[in-house]
Subunit: 191 residues, 2 copies
């Protein structure tokens, strides 16, 4: 840890940490440094959407929330569906409390969420989740698909989700931030 | 149901529905009608924060997200902590799967969330969650405290949360939208 540089708290396999890393990579590519508010937001429990929207509103460069109000609402709806409707139900703290049944539990809630998400994305998606510009929704989607795969959900049931994810994981900011490439990734999980 | 009027799907006791009703009451007081995008957002799975932010960005009147970027980030952080970090873990679908242990489960995750929320609110709160203007964070807080009370969490452990909630439940938009005053509230739960 270098003195004076913000510390990004995280865990290689956490989809929340990955969301923040994708955001961070995107902003790093634009030459933007984090400020103290962003770091505090990250420290105070990983409220990733707040961090992403804060940086989006205060810094120049490509928007992670589109300018058009309807498209913005779609981005937020998709992001919320993942960040409130799926991810919290399969995070580490919950699965630890569930115990032996945790794989079935995670599959149940991811499938339930993807069944709601697939028809929405079918309507909103272009190359990315909402139209042809990358957005906060894409930052939420790829880590959630990674989790689905970890929990052996058949993502092929959701053709739009599958197709979008295949596009996203080829993007440099998503690759660099992938759980298989982090300083704390165990050797056997490195890609 | 009157022909041509948007239908608000909801359930009297759902804290998600209550969030939307508070937003709706606030906007109703300002004489603003919902449009089709807002109605679709509500129908597509209750993505309440997306609805609230959409209306806030497209309509005149008092802001539910403050103009100052730091205050906006604080509002979103608090809202996300509740809407992603607490509510999803104690909603109906999860508790139905938990079965007999559901009261202890709900208490565990509400206490865990309130322990994270209390010190944040201690720093950000004035009369309301963030300073002295009502915001989306307040719309998230009051329904979550109502849920905490339903699950017999001792809210007195969290003096800032308790004090803010006491202020909020006296506000007309929160009173009118309260679960005890809805068309589908059973007689024995009406206030």
């Amino acid at each position: 840890i270098k003195a004076g540089l913000p510390v990004l708290h995280g865990y290689f396999r956490s989809s929340c940490s990955w969301r923040v890393r994708i955001g961070k990579s995107s902003f790093a590519l634009k030459g933007i440094e984090y400020d103290q508010v962003a770091v505090n937001l990250i420290k105070d429990g990983g409220q990733q959407l707040a961090v992403i929207q804060y940086i989006d509103e205060t810094r120049p460069g490509p928007r992670l929330l589109p300018a058009d109000p309807k498209a913005r609402a779609q981005v937020r709806m998709i992001s919320d569906l993942i960040a409130s409707g799926i991810q919290p139900l399969q995070n580490l703290a919950v699965l630890q409390k569930i115990g032996a049944e945790k794989l079935l539990w995670a599959q149940h809630f991811i499938n339930r969420g993807f069944q709601a998400l697939e028809p929405i994305l079918k309507q909103t998606a272009g190359k990315y989740c909402v139209g042809n510009e990358i957005s906060m929704a894409d930052i939420c989607l790829a880590p959630q698909v990674y989790n689905a795969e970890r929990f052996k959900v058949d993502v092929g049931q959701y053709p739009t989700i599958k197709r979008l994810n295949e596009t996203l994981v080829e993007i440099e900011a998503f690759k660099l931030s992938h759980p298989s490439h982090q300083p704390d990734t165990p050797a056997d999980l490195q890609a």
